[in-house]
Symmetry: C2
Subunit: 216 residues, 2 copies
Amino acid sequence: MADDLDPRDFTSDDDGKRPLTRIQKVNRGKILEAALDVFSAHGFRGATLDQIAAEAGLSKPNVLYYFPSKEAIHAALLEGLLDIWLAPLRAIDPAGEPREEIMRYMRRKLEMSREMPRESRLFANEVLQGAPRMGAGLSTDLKTLVDEKAKVIEGWIAEGRLAPVDPHHLIFSIWALTQHYADFDTQVRAVLGPGKDPIEGAAPFLDMLFARLLAP
Amino acid sequence: MADDLDPRDFTSDDDGKRPLTRIQKVNRGKILEAALDVFSAHGFRGATLDQIAAEAGLSKPNVLYYFPSKEAIHAALLEGLLDIWLAPLRAIDPAGEPREEIMRYMRRKLEMSREMPRESRLFANEVLQGAPRMGAGLSTDLKTLVDEKAKVIEGWIAEGRLAPVDPHHLIFSIWALTQHYADFDTQVRAVLGPGKDPIEGAAPFLDMLFARLLAP
DNA sequence: GTCTAGTTTGACCGAACGGTCAGACTCACG
DNA sequence: CGTGAGTCTGACCGTTCGGTCAAACTAGAC
């Protein structure tokens, strides 16, 4: 199970400490991969170190040799993931074509719901419970980024290149509609019944929805 | 805190047992009210009986006098809430005006996000983690209801009274967009900053969104 | 007032959990 | 092949949690 470590580098300690051993890199990767599985499926409180250790193929004390605590594993995951998660929003280009930029953002977020559902659920679990373990600074950084992009969208609207919509709620709607398919996957599949990937059906629907919403 | 018991009747035992005592009604109500608070804020696993008991103003053994287990409290909450939760969807009238019916459903769901955020988060917590404690039959009943209403919407589309959209994903989009404001309230408020109720801003946005989406 | 069914609680239990520790093992470099 | 830093583990600890129980304490019908 833990064989398919993906190449993303979660093992950033970068506190100026000495370079990581090969074994350290591998095992910290295994732990974070397992922790992502367990935390996203059961929430922070519902996850146990034994579960994580078992899924990582390590003993519990060995896991605690690489991370000082359960909290630390969770924090490392959140921190490492935040940049990836917000990258598509950052990529909105003020110089681009408005509707194209927003549609691209929406499509990229939908792709992420398909390809990184565990990451989506990890954040969802955290936010649902009031984000007690997510740095308050995170909310500050997030607000800064969103406000910046909202300004860009407002500019586009002022130029008449976009329908006049509240930019903040537009961004919320993209989050809500795309992450829904990752976070509530169980419900979506229960309703649609067995068959194709729900996101395949969602893609054209969301394309139409945002096309109609954004037309000036 | 537990003084404002709302009039909704959660205390349905109705297994044909003898009628409930006055004290039974009051205390079961207190427990379920407290449990809704605690479960919705921390998830099933994150909630503790001591927390629930404290918030209900009862001792832990006393709580377990009224409910056989933590699971039973959770199950009672879910069961009692499901009808309320799906009522607006059930209320969609095949004989009504299509766009009006759907807009009404959306608005009612948004209202519920404002007035019953704890209930929304209770379900969200459960579904996020794969709905392990929600009767599999629930998914069956839910599917049945959604399929029925999807057929109604398809009929409307066939008559050309509604834009041709996938009815299932239309329903998902209503769920996603409205429940987002309850489930991710923390994030929404962090981004918008302090001030008015986020849902006040969401209402006109969602009105415009669905008006544009549904126009034939 | 009495008596009983219904209610409440302090004390306690076993299991699960996060975390510790001393010592055993192993890898890589000279 | 020797050695020390780095890696790993079985046994254990204190706490928390869900749940039990016997005994004490009402509420209310007669």
